[in-house]
Symmetry: C2
Subunit: 350 residues, 2 copies
């Protein structure tokens, strides 16, 4: 017998990408981290924070961070909710809005944690496959009539993004019936974003994280943008104090340092184009990416072989074991030096 | 129409104790924080941590912290699960084991967040009142036959604790049928604890936090102790990376500094006895406390009046608006100086 609900007992846990232990000799291009350090002001906060600040409970609304986000992105404070990473927001949304008889939809392939969340809530689920060449399946999503749609844009592992027009059309079609969750974890690297949609649609939630663009994956900090009535519902499902004092303070200085963000993003976008060209020159298929990683298929499609070759050469990328992804790799865009190391490791096998 | 589930729409959010903004002139005895600073080694970690560590994702299992807990408390690593505060653990337990047709029980009065969690999961709920003078209602809990029992021991706001024998009897009665969650947030201040029960009972989860004894409420860090099979179920409902790098590193040094913990706990226990005597000398009823706070009833029972007097005198304590608690105050045990300030503020009104 099990002490938990039957559908939880039957579930498999989410398995994250490998985090190699020990000294980091490895070129780690498998979990879409930013290769550049966070804002130098993060260091100043770490050096100046007082233990006294850790002694007391944080503000339940991570106020200092939220104020910094509001000023930087020019959004009303009442439309912002801070969280212990985007995962924490996905969990709140699923708890509030998913469940038996409520259909949850997502793209296929996408971030597998959406499925985890839907399954925990015993939701009806619907995976909407991309159209040819990973074109955004707008009509398929509209036809799905979901209670919740989790749309990563840019999407992982494809690197493709929906246009703001497509997302607005979907928001309009779902209005009054379902929540459109736009997970913009990678939006710092893309040409467009959908931050203005929650201002006009009461059913849109945009999720942002400081893990990618701001180089703070280890901090655990993200935020949601939505209308106050909807945030009030999510607030009911959150931990009392979900964001600690250090994340509140570090997040505030990091998001205000937009110059640092822009500089790193420009470098990564340039490396992304260079790596695309260099892989294509070796016969690889590389899909145009709006994110800080590439989806790429080796000539011949032996992605597992390429993964093993790279690993043996000290370069870790992400290989997905299941069709239709098992002939492709997801490669995080590192520094130019890291990308060169990847190419060298590939060339060494030929 | 609402975009969320009906029972979420109908819920009220949890309201935490007041966190006064601005400079801390106030004597803050309302949220059971520790008046003494955390281990001095916490400061060393903050000064030495590298931004590079924040750039990458943390380990999903907060390994360094878990290793430190295992060594310090002499528990097997496989019986430990780290979390973003006890709230995060309560959420995981509720998601895994609460739900329609599954009864969730707790003491009345207790930490209101148990009810929040049960209501989010649309569980059948049962509040088991204490017996006379806040004696532990063992038979009432056994008779409740819950799928999940959330037992805070020591309990807030009563300050009373169940004996380990009572908890073991309850665990035995629930075995094969329900989960016994023993929330030991305040156990660092009590004469006994139940850490050995999960070693013998597959249905017991003990929760610990670093917020109280270790003076790290602002950090957000806690852990669960249970058998591996049960932790495997909870693992399915957790965020991928629920504990950040800073919490992992700071938590590891804090829990290893048991000398610092013992010293602060001894001071707080001594102040607790002194404050009890001093309030009783003023005609107050004070229940014997195993925690870092007192439940106390002013002579005459005008708790709201006493709360207002104290607030006017710059001392913040916790007043609960509803019977049977509305004639009592919950007073966090501060330093001797803070307790003296409280008594002065009380005496000033007479």
């Amino acid at each position: 017998m099990s002490y938990v609900k039957n559908h939880i007992d039957a579930m498999s846990p989410y398995v994250p990408g490998e985090q190699p232990a020990g000294p980091r000799r490895i070129v780690k291009l498998n979990t879409n981290e930013n290769p550049y350090p966070p804002s130098p002001q993060v260091r100043d906060v770490l050096r100046s924070v007082l233990c006294e600040e850790l002694r007391v409970y944080p503000r339940p609304d991570a106020r200092k961070f939220i104020e910094a986000v509001a000023e930087t992105l020019r959004l009303p404070r009442e439309m912002l909710l801070a969280a212990n990473g985007s995962d924490n927001l996905l969990l709140m949304i699923a708890r509030a809005a998913a469940g038996p008889g409520r259909r949850v939809a997502w793209l296929q392939p996408t971030f597998p944690f959406y499925e985890t969340q839907a399954r925990i809530e015993a939701s009806e689920i619907l995976e909407v496959p991309f159209e040819d060449d990973f074109a955004f399946p707008l009509q398929g999503l509209i036809d799905a009539q979901p209670a919740v749609a989790f749309i990563a844009s840019p999407n992982s592992p494809t690197g493709t993004a929906a246009t703001t027009d497509q997302l607005e059309t979907l928001a309009k079609a779902m209005q009054g019936r379902g929540l459109l969750v736009i997970d913009e974890a990678y939006a710092d690297f893309s040409d467009a974003h959908a931050l203005e949609l929650p201002l006009r649609y009461d059913n849109v939630i945009v999720l942002r994280t400081l893990s990618k663009g701001y180089s703070l994956a280890g901090l655990r900090l993200g935020f949601a943008v939505a209308q106050p009535a909807l945030l009030g519902q999510l607030w009911k499902t959150k931990e009392i104090y979900n964001v600690g004092v250090l994340a509140e303070r570090i997040g505030a200085v990091a998001i205000r340092d937009q110059a640092h963000l822009r500089e790193n993003v420009a470098k990564i976008r340039a490396s992304r184009e260079k790596l695309t060209v260099n892989l294509r020159a070796r016969g690889w298929t590389v899909w145009p990416s709006q994110a800080n990683f590439l989806l790429a298929r080796p000539a011949g499609g032996d992605a597992r072989g390429a993964f093993e070759t790279l690993k043996a050469g000290g370069v870790l990328v992400r290989y997905f074991d299941k069709p239709p992804m098992d002939d492709k790799l997801r490669i995080t865009v590192g520094t130019d030096e890291q990308c060169a190391a990847l190419l060298r490791a590939l060339d060494a096998r030929s």
